[in-house]
């Protein structure tokens, strides 16, 4: 069931679109913001709120990179693996992340602290290589500052 808060936020968006179905993506994002990820139950909740079947909502949810259909950790690290970052050595950054966190891309650390995921170009190519942790952008990464940055998230 949608919480009152979720309901309110979805309703506030309703006035911005001609049809309630158009709210599908906004609603998925709102639910994800509160619950961390989008479970099957969340899919049904969103469907009821915007007037779509669960299958329709799921087909939308699975299309987009930033709707998580599996549980994620407390923090999500999105490392850019696009071309400028690749030229500037993002493979090394990824390897270091995998080593330090002892996980592969797509996985979550045992203590639920971090989930590691690749992401296309973050629009920070002049400061490549770059990562986004939760909503924060970090550029000009190297093996030293990466450690300090990770330490800020617990």
């Amino acid at each position: 069931m949608l919480s009152d808060q979720e309901k309110q936020e979805i309703e506030a968006e309703l006035a911005h679109y001609e049809r309630p179905q158009a709210l599908c993506i906004e609603a998925l994002k709102i639910v994800q913001k509160h619950r961390g990820w989008v479970s099957d139950e969340a899919i049904r909740d969103v469907g009821e709120a915007v007037g779509l079947s669960p299958h329709e909502v799921d087909s939308v949810a699975t299309f987009y990179n930033l709707i998580y259909r599996r549980e994620v950790g407390r923090h999500v690290i999105h490392y850019c693996d696009s071309v400028s970052c690749w030229v500037m050595g993002c493979d090394k950054i990824r390897n270091q992340l995998c080593q330090e966190l002892k996980i592969q891309p797509g996985q979550t650390t045992e203590d639920q602290r971090f989930t590691l995921l690749p992401i296309p170009c973050l629009g920070a190519c002049d400061t490549a290589p770059a990562v986004m942790i939760d909503e924060d952008l970090h550029g000009n990464l190297n093996s030293e500052n990466l450690k300090d940055i990770l330490a800020r998230y617990d």
């Binding site: 049809r19 158009a22 990179n65 071309v83 030229v87 629009g123 920070a124 002049d126 400061t127 490549a128």
Partner: protein, 425 residues
């Protein structure tokens, strides 16, 4: 004013607010146009300026606006959409504008909406731009409070609401018809054209989609006139352009320069030349889906026409430099991996073809390629070319591949013949 897009920007981390924007002369153009000009005259001014879309395709902005039907009989609401999806790898220009001076976008959108008689607008913002989201939210609230958005803007008959929509992340959302589906809450697969969005767009209504940088040009054009705008350029294509450089250069960055600034000047002067120990080998001039240019093109003026004549595209104007110590096969492999991942999956050649290409490139990159793989890559380039897929995504993906095969063929061969990547020690 020489740098109309960026002159007022103090820094990315400190956007200029409404007060300062107005003190500098902001909102004068919109105020004046809404009081004194017919919508058609606004469009005509933009046509006369010669402004071409900065989202990649370079279509005349004023012409596009003129395709929108006007008058009381037309279905309402009509829509204006700012395309702020900016997911083209190597591109970081729109974000700079949004986070530095958000009111110039709002003013551009007020003018654009007035010209096409639209009362509802959206900013379609890429999901990862959290800071932009915050800056825009604040600026929109400021503009609403001042009466510059809402009913009867500047005391005119014209009303406009601008809604901010944050995407959920997928490169294809930047394609304008896929964007319309995304805004309608659907999977972002492109739509068939015709009908074109200016006639049948969002929710079936006439809709204009314009890039962020395009819309930043509108208020200055109305304020200073089409001739002034044309004089900002060194060549036939009018205006200034945001050029960006990333890769192994001394000072990667972004600069607003006259349209038609030569490639050499951008790389050697503005970007400070190559890093110590690295040589220039080539450049993708306008984001991931443009053809490589090489040393022989260094004196090319970077405008739409000249870059097209050299076999590439100006694209977004943000370039990625290939140096002599980076493997061109590896670079193209990285690009195709991106395209394989981001293909929307709607049409078969793209959905199945690009992952196939990615596998071939991976094999070559790892020294497991065969000589006939090169032919196979050429065949794919042909099969995924313009007109053979449902949208421009796949032909765009083929641009860096076909030009890499042309300029760096030796590198492909060496990988295959030596059974290893010659760039790995």
């Amino acid at each position: 004013m020489d740098r109309p897009l960026t002159e007022w920007i103090l820094s990315e981390s400190l956007p200029i607010g409404l007060k300062r924007y107005e003190a500098l002369g902001g909102y004068e153009a919109a105020r004046k146009a809404l009081a004194e000009m017919e919508p058609k005259a606004v469009t005509q001014t933009v046509i006369d300026s010669g402004l071409r879309g900065r989202g990649g395709a370079g279509f005349s902005t004023g012409m596009k606006w003129s395709f929108v039907p006007l008058g009381p009989e037309v279905p309402r609401p009509k829509y204006l959409i700012c395309n702020a999806d900016e997911m083209e790898p190597g591109t970081f220009k729109d974000r700079y504008l949004l986070e530095g001076n958000p009111h110039q976008l709002i003013e551009g959108m007020i003018l654009g909406a007035y010209a096409i008689e639209s009362e509802v607008a959206y900013i379609f913002l890429r999901a990862e731009y959290h800071r932009s989201h915050q800056v825009l939210t604040e600026a929109l609230a400021e503009a609403r409070a001042a009466g510059y958005l809402g009913k009867n803007i500047f005391g005119s008959q014209h009303s406009l609401e601008i809604h901010l929509h944050s995407s959920a992340g997928r490169y294809i959302c930047g394609e304008e018809t896929a964007l319309l589906n995304a805004l309608e809450g659907r999977r972002a697969v492109p739509r068939a054209k015709p009908p074109f969005p200016p006639v049948v767009g969002l929710f079936g209504k006439p809709t204009i989609v314009n890039n962020v940088e395009t819309l930043y040009n509108i208020a200055p054009i109305l304020q200073h006139g089409p001739e002034w705008f044309q004089k900002r350029s060194l060549t036939e294509d009018a205006g200034t352009k945001l050029y960006g450089v990333s890769g192994r250069v001394r000072k990667p960055g972004l600069w607003e320069l006259p349209m038609g600034t030569p490639l050499r000047e951008i790389i050697e002067e503005h970007a400070g030349g190559m890093c110590e120990g690295y040589q220039f080998r080539g450049v993708i001039p306008g984001g991931a889906s443009t053809d490589f240019l090489v040393s022989e093109h260094l004196d090319l003026p970077l405008d739409f026409e000249s870059v097209a004549k050299a076999g590439s595209r100006l694209g977004t104007g943000t370039m990625i430099v290939l140096d002599d110590r980076t493997c061109p096969v590896g670079m193209v492999h990285n690009l195709q991996k991106f395209f394989a991942h981001e293909s929307c999956g709607w049409c078969t050649p793209c959905r199945d073809g690009i992952p196939w290409i990615e596998k071939i490139l991976e094999a070559i990159d790892q020294g497991k390629g065969r000589l006939d793989d090169i032919d196979l890559l050429h065949r794919h380039v042909k099969h995924l070319g313009p007109g053979r897929t449902f949208c421009a995504f796949a032909p765009g993906a083929m641009e860096p591949l076909q030009s890499a095969l042309k300029y760096f063929e030796d590198d492909f061969r060496r990988h295959i013949e030596e059974g290893r990547c010659p760039y790995h020690e």
